[in-house]
């Protein structure tokens, strides 16, 4: 879909609140993400960043507000249905299938693109076999793109952390999502790995036109790669602006550095 016919924002979050008992994790947060935009969500620990991502991907259902994707309301969908709409994500603590090979992990990412026919699959025959090979070819393109050819057959659980993060990105990309949610894609990486990951994220955005929402703590990365930065604090949105403006935003500085007492 081109930008022109897209019209409104791809993702609309309107006044969404999520609460766990008495704790209000998200308090009437509104947020719009345009097609092909890279939006970073930042905020101190416990600000509700991951909760927001979980609400978008259907793990939590907001008790007020609505979430719309591509113009359609999807507030109360379950995660598999959210996936079917074209939303993929990665997790803060890598959630790979540890017992499966890298190849199988990424192949699993294409699940929704595959058609099921139990008998043919049991015989591994005809269309079932062809389908398997077609998707293998598609997965190989992603493997090339993310430069992980050497670890195809390695069980995911045996990989070092940085590579696991990359494989998780590969698995999310395998679904060819319209919207990609990344929960701290660079946490725990060294500078070199971070640079690689930044490059991959920007490449995904530019080559495939994938819209990206990411949570990140590294301010250098956030300022570099995002078109817009959303700041959460105690479950509220306190700022939403391009990176340059965020840098000098009073509320953001207060949230991060503490409020100066005026004497």
């Amino acid at each position: 879909m081109s930008r022109a016919e897209a019209g409104g924002p791809l993702l609309e979050v309107e006044g969404v609140s999520v609460r766990f008992g008495a704790l209000i994790a998200l308090n009437r947060v509104s947020l719009g993400v345009a097609r092909e935009e890279v939006v970073a969500i930042i905020g101190p620990n416990g600000a509700g960043k991951t909760t927001l991502l979980n609400a978008i991907s259907g793990f939590y259902h907001p008790y007020e507000g609505r979430i719309a994707f591509a113009g359609r309301d999807r507030t109360h969908l379950r995660p598999p249905d959210v996936a079917a709409l074209g939303i993929a994500r990665t997790f803060q603590n890598v959630a790979l299938f540890r017992g499966m090979s890298v190849l199988d992990n990424i192949m699993t990412g294409r699940l929704l693109k595959m058609r099921g026919s139990f008998l043919l699959e049991a015989l591994y025959w005809g269309p079932a076999r062809r389908q398997e090979l077609e998707h293998r070819a598609a997965v190989e393109r992603i493997i090339d793109f993310l430069e992980i050819q050497g670890i195809r057959k390695t069980p995911a659980g045996r990989l070092p952390y940085g590579l696991q993060k990359r494989v998780e990105l590969a698995r999310a990309l395998a679904a060819e999502p319209t919207l990609l949610l990344l929960d701290e894609p660079m946490a725990g990486m060294n500078v070199e790995e971070k640079e690689d990951m930044c490059r991959f994220i920007l490449d995904v955005n530019q080559e495939f036109g994938t819209t990206i929402v990411l949570i990140e703590h590294d301010m250098g990365v956030v300022m570099d790669i995002s078109d817009r930065v959303v700041v959460l604090d105690y479950g509220r949105k306190i700022a939403d602006a391009p990176p340059a403006e965020i840098r000098s935003d009073r509320a953001v500085l207060d949230a991060y550095l503490g409020v100066a007492h005026e004497s």
């Binding site: 598999p80 090979l133 698995r171």
Partner: protein
């Protein structure tokens, strides 16, 4: 090529297509050996092996392998712990009995398959709790299936056609003119029948686990939350595993009565069967079809070996003492294997193969 067949080397075997890379046995030597084993297994034992070997060792081995593959699909691949195997096997056995008596014209192959289907439906029902409960708690829930089903078959006389003894008996049936069940069936015929079933269904299981269905099972097993966001529907996926697993167990249960025991009561399907098959899966290797074969062989043949070993090496001891020692050694060996290689015999086999690829060089 002459050398290749002798020495386990894959040098020079380049995979030019994804199809060849995704084959079950990508290495030429493996393919040759597996085909050879299959041919030999179908031809040699019926001609050579005596009644004792076929009846006491090979037939139960094939039947339990089928059950172990079934449980491995559920527990090893889909990660759902089940202690209901004995119950699902009983469903298969009693269904086969009812079907053969109700429809005497029905081919025995169809009877086995239908019995598997009945077991699959029952398994689906008892799989529903798996959406809400996991791990040991699910095992306890499947234990309910085990006890309920056995109680049902004991209590309702209809299942045994109101036989006063409460036993079900395999009737006389032929396949292609050869008697395969009933008191007159030769061990060789029953062996070939059991082998054909387990060979076909092992291949089907392998096809399922290397494709879309197997990947969604393993995804649920390894990280259910990540699986959901990819689009795996937990209930549907788990129920499919329960259904297919129970189908395998059901067919194995029918075979146990029709091809091995000849007649049986519910005692043949008690909780010990569930544990026995679970041990086979764990010892053989969770999440491995090959492991199911190895595990069944280990659990069934080791006691026989232990029974005959003292006599073979010239030791004489009282039968009671020998029985006790046998149990102790058996238990000890299970513990030893689990400590040395918790991933089972299949992993040992894999490590052995990797070493063989480098042999005679250490690295």
């Amino acid at each position: 090529m002459g050398r290749l067949e002798v020495i386990y080397r894959e040098a020079g075997q380049f995979k030019a297509t994804y199809a060849s890379d995704q084959a079950i046995f990508p290495i030429v030597q493996d393919r040759v050996v597996v085909v050879a084993i299959a041919v030999v297994a179908f031809v040699v034992p019926p001609l050579v092996a005596g009644e004792y070997w076929l009846q006491a060792i090979l037939i139960p081995f094939l039947i339990y392998t089928l059950a172990a593959i079934g449980l491995n699909l559920l527990t090893g691949y889909a990660g759902q712990l089940s202690l209901g195997t004995g119950g699902f096997m009983a469903v298969g056995a009693y269904s086969a009995f009812k079907l053969t008596t109700a429809f005497p014209q029905l081919s025995i192959v169809v009877v086995f398959l239908l019995s598997g289907l009945v077991a699959a439906v029952i398994g689906l029902g008892f799989g529903i709790p798996s959406l809400r409960i996991k791990g040991f708690y699910l095992a306890v829930a499947t234990l309910a299936a085990q006890f309920f089903l056995i109680w049902l078959f004991n209590k309702v006389a209809w299942f045994t056609n109101y036989a006063s003894s409460g036993t079900i008996t395999a009737p006389h049936r032929t396949l292609l003119g050869v008697t395969v069940t009933g008191p007159n069936a030769s061990a060789a015929a029953r062996y070939v029948m059991a082998l054909a079933f387990v060979a076909v269904f092992a291949l089907v299981a392998k096809n399922l686990v290397r494709g879309r269905i197997g990947r969604s099972w393993m995804a649920i097993r390894d990280r259910d939350i990540a699986a959901e966001i990819i689009g795996v529907r937990p209930l549907r996926t788990k129920l499919l595993a329960f259904g297919i697993s129970s189908f395998y167990c059901g067919v194995a249960g029918a075979e146990l009565v029709f091809l091995y025991l000849g007649s049986a009561e519910t005692l043949a399907f008690d909780i010990n069967q569930s544990f026995l098959v679970l041990f086979m899966v764990i010892i053989g290797g969770l999440g491995s079809i090959l492991g199911s074969w190895l595990g069944a062989a280990f659990i069934l043949m080791l006691p026989i070996l232990l029974t005959n070993l003292p006599h073979a090496v010239g030791l004489t001891m009282s039968v009671a003492l020998q029985k006790q020692i046998e149990l102790m050694v058996f238990g000890g060996l299970i513990l030893f294997f689990l400590i040395v290689e918790p991933h089972g015999l299949a992993r040992l086999w894999q490590i052995g193969k990797e070493k063989l690829r480098l042999w005679p060089f250490p690295h």
